[in-house]
């Protein structure tokens, strides 16, 4: 349990969170990730970098996002007070932009002139395209051909923002293949290109860097709840795909031993050996993919499996390495919710709170009642509402058998 004493020191110099993380990349990329780490360290201690971030957060993104007491949902569940951290109110409609701003500003500092990114549902692609438009950098977004078909509105959005969306047809043509293709582009365009990774995964320093940029969520939530309730919450909750919104919320609370950290993975059609889910921690085992060691969906030969979730943003066969570590040492707890449970939670939130949540946080919403009741009436719980549901109305209509 050293993490409670040394949590600020993780990852270590090799980018490890216990056995997880690391830099599992082709030799061509090694000098680049080492260079990125040096540039990030320099930016971290530069007040001008922090000031620029702060300025964009305040005036462009709309931070701090509110901490909202979900009164009717609290009454409905009859347990702890449920607060929403409203990161769905950010510009572009999700938490993704917190990280994109940080990475693209870092790219500018490094003198890079071209940004590449991968995207599954299109949220990270839209956020990256947005920041690139604002900062005047060309942006290429790799997206699986299957996802392009499923997420047409976001594809159009990215194009409107001036990004080139490059369809990926290799493998299964979904998020993991888009990430493979982005890595292939990076290894080919080593001199001018910055790879803006969308989640707290990939080779070191990405998991640390993305976590740090997303930690604004947890820092604000901590301050806001102290101001509002005069004490820390009993639990903080978030959905887990790669886990960037969750690690951003968790991290400022890791040292607070009495605050439970609860992640909710996508159980898809159920966690069993059909692998029709995206629950890497609950239904996978450790392995190496996309530059880091972490829990993965894989077969007995170490081949990566596709997985499934109704939420395209959670549909990834891995998870950020820090979550793997927090799970192993028992500091965080990882639950799961099925497609059906997420849909029910989506409907409930819309009806009771007047908020259409994205399908990603709907997974956390699906477990929030259980946790609230377990904590009990006097308790406090914060759930990160990390994205808005406008992008999901077609998927939800389809799942409910409604023709639009």
């Amino acid at each position: 349990m050293d993490v409670r004493r040394n949590w600020q020191d993780l990852p270590d110099a090799e980018g490890r969170f216990g056995p997880y993380g690391g830099r599992f990349v082709a030799e061509t990329l090694m000098p680049l990730v080492l260079d990125l780490e040096r540039a990030y360290r320099a930016a971290q201690t530069d007040p001008a970098f922090a000031a620029t971030m702060q300025d964009f957060w305040t005036h462009y993104v709309g931070r701090p996002s509110p901490l909202y007491f979900a009164e009717r949902l609290t009454d409905h569940h009859g347990g702890a007070k449920i607060y929403f951290k409203r990161d769905e109110l950010n510009h572009t409609g999700a938490h993704k932009i917190n990280n994109c701003l940080g990475q693209v500003l870092l790219a500018l500092r490094m003198g890079k002139t071209r940004i590449i990114a991968e995207t599954g549902a299109g949220q990270h692609g839209v956020a990256t395209a947005t920041v690139c438009a604002r900062l005047g950098l060309p942006c290429v977004v790799f997206m699986g051909a299957t996802d392009i078909e499923r997420q047409k509105p976001n594809v159009f959005r990215m194009k409107l923002l001036g990004a080139e969306v490059r369809p990926v047809t290799s493998g299964a043509a979904t998020l993991k293949d888009a990430m493979n293709e982005a890595l292939r582009d990076w290894v080919t365009n080593v001199a001018d290109t910055f790879y803006c990774i969308g989640t707290a995964a990939g080779p070191h320093p990405y998991p640390e860097m993305v976590r740090d940029f997303q930690s604004v969520i947890g820092r604000e939530a901590r301050e806001q709840i102290l101001e509002r309730e005069g004490r820390l919450p009993d639990a903080v909750m978030a959905c887990i795909g790669g886990g960037s919104n969750a690690i951003g919320l968790f991290h400022p609370f890791i040292a607070d031993e009495n605050v439970r950290l609860i992640g909710v993975e996508a159980a898809g059609r159920g966690i069993d050996d059909r692998f029709e889910h995206s629950a890497a921690i609950n239904g996978g085992r450790p392995g190496v993919l996309h530059g880091n060691r972490t829990y993965l969906l894989q077969n007995e030969d170490g081949q990566i499996l596709e997985g499934h979730s109704i939420s395209a943003g959670l549909d990834y066969p891995g998870v950020g390495p820090e979550h793997s570590y927090l799970a192993d040492i028992g500091r965080a707890q990882y639950l799961s919710a099925t497609d059906t449970e997420a849909l029910e939670a989506f409907k409930l939130c819309a009806k009771l709170e007047g908020i259409l949540p994205a399908l990603e946080p709907s997974h956390a919403l699906a477990r929030v009642g259980d946790v609230a009741r377990e904590i009990g009436k006097d308790g406090l719980l914060i759930m990160n509402l990390c994205g808005r549901g406008d992008k999901d109305v077609f998927t939800v209509a389809d799942a409910l058998g409604v023709k639009l």
Binding site: F24, L32, V187, G287, Q303, I304
Partner: protein, 275 residues
């Protein structure tokens, strides 16, 4: 290090020529066809064999080897099957070094110690793991030397002098120079660039230097073979599998190997200057 690799490179030096390292993907397009290709490689002119083990997410590979990996997986290919092919090949050939090449996760999944044991038992001589840089290959280094197996490291156009020291520390067998920043089978570097890079590497190490990535045609192979110790060709062979009717796949691959081998063998005669 593997004695087979050492003797092969010593023999090439005596003959005053570069060697051809021929890459094929295990179980592509199926186990038996792949075995027939493997068995025919030495006679077709392959001096060293690189046997790829398939991975679902080959991040450093271009379209040719990506497709080969998918064909292999579809045919039931796996790390275990790859080791079995290596073993069967070794029963037919005692002298040609055979290197396994692929990505870390199938090995992680098997376990490094189990992998080293299985490799030694199969008669394979070394391994190249694309996404296991020196910073991450400690578990392999812990098990390999005692098995007499080589860990083949990669140097690239982005490897500066400081990095090269790190790459060479613990490297054995030969040094694989990735001649272009990019994926396998993509654009080739110019011969002048490759020559300069090989000269630089030779100043830093006594290990033989094999040059690969983007070498598809005899002309390019010939140019590299003038001063490199070996030329690695993969995508060009793998493409032959599907370049015509399935029953002639073995013949097509071996014909291409012979063509590239001839170019590599004759490079220094034509050049008139030994390296």
């Amino acid at each position: 290090m593997s004695t087979r690799l050492a003797s092969r490179f010593a023999a090439l030096k005596r003959e005053g020529r570069a060697g051809l390292v021929a890459y094929v993907m295990a179980s592509d397009p199926d186990h038996e066809t792949c075995f027939e290709i493997l068995r025919g490689l030495p006679a077709a002119g392959a001096d060293v064999i690189e046997l790829g083990f398939p991975f679902s997410d080959p991040m450093a590979d271009g379209p040719s080897i990506q497709k080969a990996a998918l064909r292999a997986l579809k045919a039931g290919g796996s790390l275990k099957q790859t080791l079995d092919l290596a073993r069967r090949f070794r029963e037919t050939d005692r002298d040609t070094p055979l290197i396994l090449m692929g990505y870390a996760n199938p090995i992680e999944s098997m376990g490094y110690e189990a992998f080293a044991k299985a490799m030694a038992a199969s008669g394979a001589d070394g391994v190249i793991i694309v996404d296991l840089p020196p910073e991450e290959d400690a578990p392999l280094r812990a098990t390999f030397p005692s098995s007499g197996l080589s860990i083949i490291r990669l140097a690239t156009p982005t490897t500066d002098d400081g990095r090269l020291t790190k790459v060479l520390d613990g490297a054995s067998g030969f040094l694989y120079y990735v001649s272009v920043a990019g994926v396998t089978g993509a654009n080739a570097a110019t011969s002048a660039q490759v020559r300069a890079a090989v000269e630089r590497l030779k100043r830093a190490t006594d290990l033989p230097i094999a040059v690969g990535f983007g070498v598809r045609e005899p002309e390019a192979a010939r140019a590299i073979a003038v001063n490199a110790d070996a030329v690695v060709v993969g995508s060009a062979f793998v493409d032959e599998i599907t370049a015509g009717p399935a029953p002639q796949a073995v013949e097509r691959v071996l014909r291409k190997v012979a063509q590239l081998s001839e170019a590599v063998r004759s490079a220094r005669e034509l050049e008139g200057t030994p390296a």
